[in-house]
């Protein structure tokens, strides 16, 4: 499939039409969706409407936008007015939001064509897309393997050439880890860079929407479209979207890159080897490599598994059967709430709601949630110190290549460890990008991770582009 930027250029010039590109995407979806279970809903009508509107604007000679006619897949926790949105949960089956997320509005304004909603771990709680109430998504590169998660559907859509772009959400690695497992570029933007309005919350202080793409430039273009202040999100950064695409080829000459031991310790040898090779590639491009240790990173996982469930236990309280989604009737309101939630939520979601409720309970708050907040502050300080010594940090994205479907479902701790290298960035509110670099076992892709302080996206894209070129991608 051609790159998003090529498609947009050709749609704007009239060399192709949005409707034509939409039809190509639709054909690719039809060809493999049954096999891979990528899309939970394909919005054929909406996509056709959106494509025709773009074509009409082109005909009228209007400026159609940076993503003119580019098909895009949306993770199913992004609200799009009138389009079924489930967050991968039975409890929201059949719900059609009456409003659209800010990012969806910005995509449409930029000429993108949303093709439908992609499968995900239920409420984004998982690392393999296996906790979805609607069955697992398969990795297009090897259908016996998981695509990662929780944004596994969005990753697979791009990896299977169904759409050149997709949006996911990243609370603890849910974009970067599936990007690594599917051989894609995936970005967790600085907290507040992208509006969360219309993103179904998992853990509000950690959630961020971000792009998947096959190459760095496409990812930068997409992030540029969706980023920038939104008055509907109080935690949104005050400034307009940064200029990213124009910095993709800035290179890394003179940059200090911190190779952080804790960001690949415990990863498979083949992954560690690629991280080291990536460091060399950056050095070859003019960067200085600084070996660093940030021990607080090891505390991230435990803090995360208190903070995220605590927020989730509150965010998911609203699924009570009163107003929308599933309702299981019972004798009184409390019994109805309980019956609805018992039937509507899957095991992983229940596990985290219980964990989070416990962590916030009177008598336990200080020992658990309160302590986790302190650890979070320590981690933020540790990153701040690291960024005095390095402009950006390098490590692994995931400990291994894509694992087999069913391999970790019985062992939550093993599953949680998939996110050990990605979680610290969410806790710190910083930015990070996963870029494919080399392959490992079964010829599956490996992703390396570049991390930077808040608002460092332009530098991260430039470094990712250096690795992309060094790995022999155009």
């Amino acid at each position: 499939m051609r790159s998003a930027l090529d498609i947009a250029r050709d749609v704007r010039s009239g060399a192709t039409t949005a409707e034509n590109e939409m039809a190509t995407s639709l054909a690719a979806i039809r060809a493999r969706n049954d096999e891979l279970n990528v899309f939970l809903f394909v919005d054929e009508e909406g996509a056709l409407d959106a494509a025709r509107r773009v074509d009409e604007r082109v005909t009228r000679g209007e400026d159609v936008g940076a993503l003119a006619g580019v098909p895009i897949a949306l993770k199913d926790n992004l609200c799009q007015s009138g389009v079924p949105t489930t967050a991968g949960s039975k409890i929201l089956k059949g719900w059609r939001p009456p409003y659209s997320a800010t990012v969806v509005g910005r995509l449409l304004d930029a000429g993108a064509v949303p093709m439908g909603k992609t499968n995900m771990d239920e409420f984004a709680m998982g690392s393999s897309t296996e906790t979805s109430a609607f069955g697992p998504t398969r990795n297009p590169l090897n259908v016996e393997r998981v695509p990662g998660g929780s944004s596994g559907g969005s990753a697979s859509a791009v990896a299977a050439d169904m759409t050149p772009l997709s949006l996911g959400s990243d609370t603890g690695g849910s974009i970067r880890q599936p990007a690594a497992l599917c051989g894609l570029v995936g970005v967790k933007p600085t907290y507040g860079l992208v509006s969360r309005y219309g993103l179904i919350a998992f853990a509000s202080s950690l959630d961020q929407i971000g792009p998947f793409a096959k190459n760095v430039a496409d990812a930068a273009a997409l992030l540029e479209v969706i980023a920038g202040h939104d008055p509907m999100d109080s935690t949104s950064l005050p400034e307009l979207a940064p200029s990213l695409l124009s910095h993709v080829n800035d290179g890394v000459a003179g940059k200090r890159v911190g190779l952080v031991r804790e960001l690949f310790d415990g990863a498979a040898d083949e992954v560690v080897a690629e991280v080291e090779r990536a460091a060399e590639a950056l050095r070859d491009a003019g960067a200085t490599i600084v070996e660093l240790s940030v021990p607080e990173i090891h505390l991230g996982l435990s803090a995360y598994y208190l903070i995220a469930p605590a927020e989730a236990s509150s965010n998911l309280a609203r699924y009570d059967g009163v107003r929308y989604g599933l309702r299981v009737d019972a004798d009184d309101v409390a019994a109805m709430n309980e019956a609805t939630r018992t039937a509507g939520f899957g095991a992983e979601v229940k596990r985290r709601i219980m964990l989070g409720t416990y962590a916030l309970s009177a008598g336990y708050y200080d020992a658990y949630y309160g302590q986790a907040l302190k650890v979070r502050t320590q981690l933020i300080d540790a990153f701040r110190r690291a960024y005095l010594e390095a402009d950006l940090l390098l490590g692994a994205t995931a400990p291994t290549v894509a694992f087999a479907i069913g391999e970790k479902t019985a062992d939550p701790m093993a599953m949680y460890l998939s996110d050990v290298f990605t979680i610290p960035t969410n806790l710190a509110g910083d930015a990070a990008i996963s870029v494919p670099f080399g392959t490992g076992e079964a010829d599956l892709p490996i992703g390396v991770q570049l991390l930077g302080p808040g608002r460092s996206e332009a530098g991260l894209f430039a470094a990712a582009r250096v690795l992309e070129l060094a790995d022999g991608r155009s």
């Binding site: 926790n77 992004l78 609200c79 949105t85 967050a87 929201l92 719900w95 939001p97 009456p98 409003y99 997320a101 969360r196 309005y197 219309g198 993103l199 179904i200 919350a201 853990a203 509000s204 202080s205 008055p231 509907m232 999100d233 109080s234 935690t235 605590a310 927020e311 236990s313 509150s314 309280a317 609203r318 009570d320 009163v322 107003r323 929308y324 009184d332 309101v333 409390a334 709430n337 409720t357 916030l360 309970s361 009177a362 708050y365 949630y369």
Partner: protein, 475 residues
Amino acid sequence: MTLRDGWEMVIGLEVHTELKTSTKMFCGCANEFGSEPNTNVCPVCLGLPGSLPVLNVRAVDLAMAIGFALHSTIGFSTFHRKNYFYPDMPKDFQISQYDLPINSGGYLDLPDGSRVTIERAHLEEDTGKSTHLGGSGRIHGADRSLVDYNRSGVPLVEIVSGPDIRSSAQARGYASELRGILIATGASDGRMEEGSMRIDANVSVRRPGDPLGTRCEIKNLNSLRSLHRAIDYEAARQVELVEGGAKVRQETRHWDEHLGETSTMRTKEEAEDYRYFREPDLVDLVPDTAWQERIRAGLGAMPAERRATLLARLTDPTPSQLDALEVVVDLGFDDLVLAAIDAGVEAPLALARAANELAAAIDDIANLTQDAFIATLTMEQGGELSATQAKTVLLELLAHAGDPRAIAAAKGFEQLSSDSLGETVAALITQYPDEWARFRDGDEKLAQFFIGQVMKLTKGQANGKAVIAELQSRR
């Protein structure tokens, strides 16, 4: 009511007031009482998945105005989530300030000279409203429940007093004075009957000088009368328990207005664990000095000061005039009354018309201009309108606005010129010589007889005072 000898009540009040903003606390929906159910709603106040709150700056303005009026310290504050399941609360948590409220500390001086400390006055959002149909008619055991989310997300300030109140009368005085302050700051319309001001009372009893006793919280008292009665009932109940050798159990109690009793809602053991934590969807609220100063500068005089101003214009006020004065200040009509007095209207007349006619039509007060009020009262005072006619003109002005002279003319309140009044009186003197003789000899009661006759002949269009003046001039 007073407690049995040797006992003292200890009362602290939590007053919830809806803020008079045009939109809700975290979204742009109208903050309006009495709309069709579920019409002032949007994804945010319905708590739809993916929606996020954005703080209404006007709610912060009003909260700070309350803080200044209560001599609170205004500072860095944050929002928390108070988590519990309830069908009229769409997110199943309430956004509320918790350990860092916008207003901390302060006090309120009551007309009786006492001072009640204020612990805090914090911002929070209101819930929707449930109606339970069939069965028990309450949430447990009703056949079905309907929820109206129009009130969901309406901004509230909760004002928490210290445990300084010692009687139900003082509690009532506190609530009433606070209500006046809320109206004076423009923060609230203070309408308890519409639920825009609701009170929870924490009540305990003790022997004077002893440490505080175990308290019970009586929820949702929605009139000053209920507040008064509920506290008296509850304190007496507690004294009886303790004197009978039992202990007061810490619990939340419900006030039944019809039975005149409190009853257990939930005990301390059954109390919810609200699992408060910082609301991650909102940022810290830090009103800077300029913002605070803007609010402080915009504050008018508070009721105590306004009562004093008006009182200074009355000579030897009667008890009913003092009552009227309180009503007038409570309703915020004192500026109108003062303007009328400045324009030459006698203070008792201005006070009476404001405390009666205007107070009865408070919903329509916006129709009445200061000029129209003064003009009407001046006409009444000058004898151009009778008292009844003046009241009718005021009611018309309140209902439809307009020009008082035009209204008087349209109603056929032709002014009775002193010439024609003189002719009428002269004719009556001729017609009733005996009555006239008795009046001239000092029987003042006969004045009423002549007034009655004049009214009959003029179909009520004469002014009583003018008739008396006419009679006196011929005595």
